[in-house]
């Protein structure tokens, strides 16, 4: 006890200020932008195999094709809103692949690959986007606000960073209950500025929460570039400041991200203690369909991340290098797109949630007040139902 106290109090007789970039954390990478393993990477390659990587590839294509279709559908007015995952498919799938179903996920809103990997399929996602009677959320939320209690994925919520202290809290509960699972929250470089992020990481380090903080540093928060978002050496160093084991990883390198996530979970359970992982990536799409990124980004930057530092292309090159590319990428893309279109048609033709469900879910059971209001609405619709699209309700 005394030794620990003495260790933390070292004196210096020379005055000096620690430079803000005195600690600069390097980015862990296994395969380079050409999809080839780095010279010292061979020790890590045994952690992955052909089947795992091909499954990752196919899931990334699912995300890519799903994004492409639904972005277009929004522009055509078929759905009102959408948020793409372009550029971040790699880190989504790679982190999810290293976790178990009994780990709890707290997403932000750009983690479709995590959903798909865990079994939240294309059809369910389509129902949510069309907000129809089969939507698990009963038509209560905007598009892309998916969630699944069965798959231990918290519903996507709109306010930024609120999910972070909540993940710290759940991770604390897991520790108290001696569980060998962890809570994982995802958040962007912009959300990392929120006060909730600070509170979460600070508290998690004192409560030794079994929580993995995954920052998707995609370089933009709507139009705000990282240089306007923070003055530190990214988000990874902040973890150190809070007393948390931290790592920075190349989020567009699925192998590095997968391995880092595996090791992070081991480290969390060994503590127990929280871990921060900053995944460097790039948001190729607009913030959402309400944004037009061409107003504030230049073409060269976008092209670089489309052609060179693209997680899907890098993995494809690696598979080719290893002689594991036993499928035709174009065929996979086409087949995936066909499946997504079929699911879209099913979702589109479903009826809308019936008006009665509006009163459900406020509490566990309807209160007398709500029952009364529901009765009044029933009477009202009996007379004026034709002024509403009741025939489209389920």
């Amino acid at each position: 006890m005394l030794k620990a106290l003495l260790r933390s109090m070292s004196y210096s007789s020379s005055l000096s200020f620690t430079h803000p970039h005195a600690l600069s954390i390097p980015t862990f990478q296994v395969i380079n932008e050409d999809g080839l393993p780095n010279s010292s990477s061979s020790q890590y390659l045994s952690s992955v195999n052909k089947d795992l990587l091909i499954r990752m590839y196919k899931t990334m294509i699912e995300v890519q094709e799903f994004d492409t279709l639904y972005y277009d559908l929004q522009r055509q007015g078929l759905i009102s809103f959408y948020m793409q995952n372009s550029g971040e498919e790699g880190l989504q799938v790679a982190t999810a692949a290293a976790l178990d179903l009994n780990d709890w996920i707290f997403p932000q809103y750009r983690e479709l690959g995590v959903f798909f990997w865990r079994g939240f399929d294309i059809q369910q996602a389509s129902h949510q986007l069309f907000s129809n009677a089969k939507d698990l959320g009963q038509g209560k939320q905007m598009p892309v606000h998916y969630g699944s209690k069965d798959l231990n994925i918290m519903t996507v919520r709109s306010p930024l960073a609120t999910q972070i202290p909540q993940a710290a809290g759940l991770g604390y509960g897991l520790r108290l209950k001696n569980q060998s699972s962890i809570a994982v929250c995802y958040f962007g470089d912009g959300a990392a500025s929120e006060g909730d992020t600070h509170a979460a990481m600070n508290i998690a380090s004192t409560t030794k929460s079994q929580t993995l903080f995954v920052c998707r540093n995609n370089k933009y928060a709507i139009s705000t570039n990282m240089k306007d978002q923070y003055g530190s050496d990214g988000i990874a160093v902040r973890g150190v400041a809070y007393g948390i084991h931290s790592i920075r990883v190349d989020g567009n390198d699925v192998i590095a991200t997968y391995i880092a996530t595996q090791e992070a979970k081991k480290l969390i359970l060994a503590g127990p203690q929280p871990v921060l992982m900053e995944c460097m990536t790039y948001r190729r799409g607009h913030h959402s369909t309400s944004d037009d990124a061409s107003r504030y980004r230049n073409k060269e930057e976008l092209e670089h991340y489309q052609k060179n530092n693209n997680p899907i292309i890098r993995l494809e090159k690696f598979l080719k290098h290893m002689g594991w590319l036993d499928f035709d990428p174009v065929e996979i893309q086409k087949e995936t797109r066909d499946r997504i279109i079929k699911a879209k048609d099913v979702a589109k033709n479903e009826k809308l949630p019936k008006w009665e469900v509006m009163f459900d879910g406020v509490y566990n059971e309807l209160t007398p007040e709500l029952k009364k209001q529901k009765g009044e609405l029933k009477k009202f619709l009996e007379i004026y139902g034709d002024k509403y699209e009741i025939n489209k309700h389920s």
Binding site: F81, K140, D228
Partner: protein, 337 residues
């Protein structure tokens, strides 16, 4: 005679807010705009369009994403003598900073025995919009109106927006200015007097949009438009409704409301916030507590949004907020027709 030949100007609500901010920032060096995306991006809804280009980074300040953070900074600046306009992308996000708004800016004058206070305007969109569901649609009119120490304004048209925002910025109090996203792009034909750089509307004074003798309809923000629509329908049925645009929610213009009820003897309130403890509830209490009670021929009826978090699906959204048909029906009931 010439006074009758006033020129008209066509303007959207968004343009009104933009021009009011522009003029006040130019007029008073202490005024500045702070918020997310307000500078080069011109604002999440483009309300601060061209302001950064004109006034620069010292007066138009883009912040990192932390409502609690930048509201705290703005509150501190106001206590130090500056006059911030603190923009929230939506008041729904201001829940993360409500402690700064209520516990700091609203209460500080009282707690310091009148010695410390700050001038600050909190503005942003409020209430249900279109297709943005539970966490983007809450109306905070009654929450903020319940706090002693805050002024709460709710403009409807460009005249309201310009006159009330300028008044708010010049005011030496914390003001909550509730805008409406659906109204932003609505164009109105206005009296050109509103273009005057010193065009100020009085805080605490409602406006009678339409005179009538049979029933009083009280509303604020977008529901004023819905009420006017209902009044047209009622006129066809021989009922002349008097539509009051509240403009200020705190302090409420009780005199205008009471005088109207003394004339019409019947009243309906319309809002798109929730019923429990809403603006209509406050007006209801007013009817009970004031001399208006002796003039009522029927109880007040309130129209509010449904008592649920705002749902998303179209089938649910269209039954969630009051429409003209609901206002007409309520008026018919209150008129015993």
């Amino acid at each position: 005679m010439l006074g009758l030949l006033r020129r008209r100007v066509s303007m959207t609500v968004k343009e009104a807010i933009n021009s009011a901010m522009d003029e006040e920032i130019t007029r008073d060096s202490r005024v500045f705009l702070i918020g997310e995306e307000v500078a080069q991006y011109n604002g999440a809804y483009k309300v601060s369009k061209d302001l950064w280009a004109k006034h620069g980074s010292n007066r138009i300040w883009d912040t990192p994403i932390t409502e609690a953070g930048f509201t705290g900074i703005a509150a501190g600046a106001s206590l130090g003598g500056l006059k911030p306009i603190c923009e929230f992308m939506t008041f729904n996000f201001a829940m993360q900073s409500i402690d700064h708004i209520v516990n700091s800016t609203a209460k500080i004058r009282y707690m310091s025995g009148g010695k410390i206070h700050g001038s600050i305007v909190f503005r942003g969109i409020n209430g249900p919009a279109a297709g943005v569901a539970a966490q983007h649609s809450q109306c905070f009119a009654s929450w903020y109106s319940s706090v002693p120490g805050l002024i709460v304004l709710s403009p409807y048209d460009p005249e309201d927006a310009r006159g009330l925002l300028k008044a708010a910025i010049r005011e030496d109090e914390p003001v909550v200015f509730l805008e409406n996203e659906i109204m932003y792009n609505k164009k109105f034909d206005c009296d050109d007097k509103i273009l005057d750089k010193d065009f100020i509307l009085p805080i605490g004074k409602a406006k009678i949009m339409r005179q009538g003798k049979d029933i009083t309809i009280v509303a604020h923000s977008r529901m004023v438009g819905v009420s006017l629509e209902a009044a047209e329908e009622l006129a066809k049925k021989g009922i002349e409704a008097e539509v009051i645009n509240l403009r200020t929610l705190k302090p409420l213009d009780t005199e205008t409301i009471i005088n109207s009820v003394k004339k019409t003897n019947r009243i309906v309130s319309v809002e798109d916030g929730w019923p429990h403890g809403g603006i209509g509830a406050e007006i209801c209490a007013l009817m009970m507590e004031s001399e208006a009670f002796d003039y009522l021929d029927a109880p007040l009826e309130r129209l509010t949004s449904a008592d649920v978090p705002a749902p998303y699906a179209k089938s649910l959204e269209e039954i969630f907020t009051p429409r003209a048909v609901n206002v007409v029906n309520a008026c018919l009931r209150v008129c015993n027709k």
